[in-house]
Symmetry: C2
DNA sequence: GTCTATACACAGATAGAC
DNA sequence: GTCTATCTGTGTATAGAC
């Protein structure tokens, strides 16, 4: 699977995501006209990601956000009751995106080595497609209320458990070596995170997401596969 | 090399670090008595790390810091001119710790595979010894002034370059495979970061730093070392 | 050296005109 | 729906007593 294939399988365009955000928060968003709401949500969320990437969510003032989004303070607040609620909306949506993709890609193939590759790549490709969301979720996860924090941890545990399950199935099937699968899964997640946490590095070096994903798969297979026949360099 | 061996080779106890912080900032710190200064620096830095781990440096108010450190506002400010300068002092010291350890461990052994192991482990062990410093440096690196930001990037590039150099030497010596060494080095760094970014996870699972470091070395060697089957094929 | 009290800028949030 | 003007709390930093 290549990134181009992935894009054909999911619709996580900015517009589509904002439409979902609107639909799922209709009770708190005070704007009635859907088109207006989606258009402004795009401006607001885009501005949040830009500013947050530069200096973090805490350091972003609502005046910063107003300036960058092109909306006045009075025009923004009908979209959320408080800055903290805005944070919650973004994190909830981000988790939902990740979970949806995992549900879609964790099944289907029969061979464990194919399932592993699909799940790892799906995560990396989604983080490429929705880079600002992933960067945001990681960086702002620490500033959360108890409830939000719990949700993040559960989301982390879930994606890790999916990988562990695949590794165990592969060991039973005799294609993966006996390892400490929980540790392996953690390290795989670290490799995936690297992609969206150090976005500037790979952009500057002109490493594509397909190259990176293939490199990770190769790295993981060297360690996990029983017969180590990765003759293909890179 | 085990963590216990590492601890015998470096002195990065809280006290020793605070002594160095005082020595290197004597021009801006207004306290004359060294003992008083070091004692209070320990309180201040400890409180900064505690609060920052919970909610980030930006969200930490100076009143928070005063309460947690046990010093009044008036008693803290002689140690730094502003909150931003406090940030700078911590980051500068953290970079120096990392650089010192790298300089110490990157040479010595002759065989590239031993050098690689030593450098990887030294980084992980230092991050264990000085966990709050590393977590802090990673999480707060984004909120920096231009000068500080540049220094962080150079520090990143330096540690990566050391690893790349070892991988290249190993390839020339015929012990490491031909790979995209820059990508490998990036991924190794991601594995190292995992240890101090997800400290709670490994603490809860009772994974020791020696276990983690050995697992990483094993993972990396699977990918990098020329295998017996390869040599037979040649 | 360390304290308390305070200056004053800026934060998040809202009211009310249009 | 969107604007400007404004309320009120909290932030960083300092002055001056002890």
């Amino acid at each position: 699977m290549k990134y181009a294939d992935f894009l054909n399988m999911v619709d996580d365009s900015t517009r589509a995501v904002c439409r979902r955000v609107y639909a799922e928060n209709k009770d708190t968003i005070k704007i009635k006209k859907e088109e207006t709401a989606i258009k402004n949500l795009e401006k607001i969320l885009g501005a949040v990601f830009d500013i947050t990437y530069e200096k973090g969510f805490q350091a972003m003032s609502m005046r910063d956000l107003s300036r960058r989004s092109g909306l006045s303070m009075g025009a923004m607040y009908p979209y959320f009751r408080s800055k903290e609620e805005l944070l919650g909306i973004i994190l909830r949506q981000g988790r939902a995106m990740l979970k949806n993709v995992f549900e879609k890609f964790k099944t289907g193939s029969e061979r464990p080595e194919d399932r592993l590759e699909k799940v790892i790549k799906a995560h990396i490709f989604l983080s490429e497609r929705a880079k600002p969301w992933f960067y945001f979720m990681f960086m702002e996860a620490k500033n959360l209320s108890a409830g939000e924090r719990k949700a993040i941890l559960e989301s982390e545990a879930y994606t890790e458990a999916v990988i562990v399950e695949i590794l165990e199935a592969g060991e039973r099937a005799g294609v993966f070596r006996k390892r400490r699968h929980v540790l392996t899964a953690s390290i795989i997640k670290a490799m995936q995170q690297e992609w969206y946490l150090k976005r500037w590095k790979y952009a500057r070096r002109k490493v594509t997401v397909d190259e990176y994903a293939d490199y990770v798969i190769n790295f993981v297979n060297s360690f996990c596969l029983v017969q180590n026949s990765d003759m293909e360099a890179n």
